[in-house]
Symmetry: C3
Subunit: 210 residues, 3 copies
């Protein structure tokens, strides 16, 4: 039963990220096939990179549900795009849930592989946010991750909470739930209060030699 909830939340995250990819791809002369690819890359790009770095077979090869869920997101976007429009804030909520869930999945999987704590936190952040980076690179834009909002930082912060609870001896259920909730709340607060990091000012205008 608990297993099913994990799967359900993982696929909810997949769906949310796929929809987020489709929204950003829409109106940009991307055809239906390209749109599905963008949705897929947004949803599975982070976890695939994590698995390549950890030298294990990418998770989606073991279970076709990730491709199917992305397909469901794609069909939903084609059929219900006006409704999806009205669901703007719901979708944002989905994306935050996706970030929270994927952060937890990334940390737990790395921890089970015996990686050091700080590497696990990095893996959580990679799992949660690298899909969006691939999406933006494919759409020929500077990744949102680099330019604005607190996004990957919410995931990193969740990672710290994970290991706080872990070290304090809480059960993995509580640890994982608290991590996901932290990421989601950090993301909501960041967007609601327009929290942003400072920009990196020009260091060196004249000597662009290299």
């Amino acid at each position: 039963m608990e297993f099913n909830i994990t799967i359900f939340l993982d696929l909810l995250g997949t769906f949310a990220f796929a929809i987020s990819g489709l929204r950003i791809a829409s109106g940009k002369k991307i055809d239906w096939f390209g749109a599905y690819i963008i949705a897929l890359v947004t949803a599975i790009g982070g976890g695939t990179t994590r698995d390549l770095l950890m030298d294990v077979r990418p998770f989606w090869m073991e279970n076709s549900m990730y491709f199917i869920t992305t397909g469901v997101a794609f069909v939903s976007a084609i059929l219900f795009k006006d409704k999806l429009f009205r669901w703007g804030s719901t979708l944002f909520m989905f994306d935050a849930i996706g970030l929270g869930m994927f952060t937890v999945v990334g940390i737990s999987k790395s921890l089970a592989m015996g990686l050091p704590m700080w590497v696990c936190i990095v893996m959580g952040t990679i799992t949660g946010s690298l899909g969006g980076v691939f999406r933006d690179v494919l759409l020929n834009k500077v990744p949102l991750l680099l330019t604005r909002d607190i996004y990957a930082l919410a995931s990193l912060f969740g990672g710290l909470v994970y290991f706080l609870f872990y070290k304090l001896g809480f059960s993995s259920n509580i640890t994982e739930s608290m991590t996901a909730i932290t990421v989601i709340i950090a993301r909501l607060i960041a967007v609601k209060f327009h929290l942003q990091l400072p920009l990196l000012k020009p260091i060196n205008e004249n000597s662009n030699k290299n």
Copy 2:
């Protein structure tokens, strides 16, 4: 003897993809070294990604012929560029052959690794079309794959044909030939009749929150 034909067709695909990379790189302030890199990435990018995903050593490390063939393509493009120009449709034919060959190589290699059928089909498409995606990302363009033409879809369709023949018990020779021919013909038909998928229309113009 049969082995030699496989190698020959594989290298023909490499040559075709390298030339395709060079054509798209030409006239874009890319220097000779950069042009060779673009040609190489176009030719080996798909198969390298496939091998990384399957957790095996990239194919080109075992055999320097892929780098050498790309070099031959590069020198040909420098020496005979006017002739290559007149060969426009021949080159297109080469690219279609490359797509067909690489699709077959990708599927066969994945099948030999014991991957499920749908993963093999995905691997065939990755092998055939991801090199062109890397090429376009390096040239700072939205990948052609995402925007127009039936390209990866021809490869996917070939994958379905592969498993149809495979399940029906045909020999691997016939199965592989029919797959390559299907991909090539699908590609020719798509270009001849300007078959295109619909574009993904704007879902959501106002709430670009995330």
Copy 3:
């Protein structure tokens, strides 16, 4: 003792590449977090790709010093940006040192894995120059590597020197030092005399079919 010098030079290369990433990211609407990521990708992107291709766990997972050194570079860039500006040529020197060091690291690591000579040279070049390619792709520019200067070629040339000394039976100390010095000098000469390769001229203007 010698071990410490290797580590020191490796981290010096990391610092140099991180600063190079920060300079190119500055003034481009990248926030602090994004700037750190750009610096990190510039510094570890090449070695990470090398390790993925060789099917070993990425080097930075074993030692947090690479992330920490990048952090030091980031803080330095924020605190001392005017001084860094005056250090223009010093920084260029650092980047050349980084390229030399990373080329050596890449070749030595590949050789220890038993890869053929030409693959080792390719791995040295990937280690030295792919981080800068990722940096440019993330900043949505055509990689400098493809467009101008002798950069990866200096690394390749160093690789040839490596195997010349190796085959002649010199100690690994001398071989590695001579390789690094060759790369650095080749890079200095290329920049001082504005050595550039020819550009790839348009092959084919009219038939951009594919």
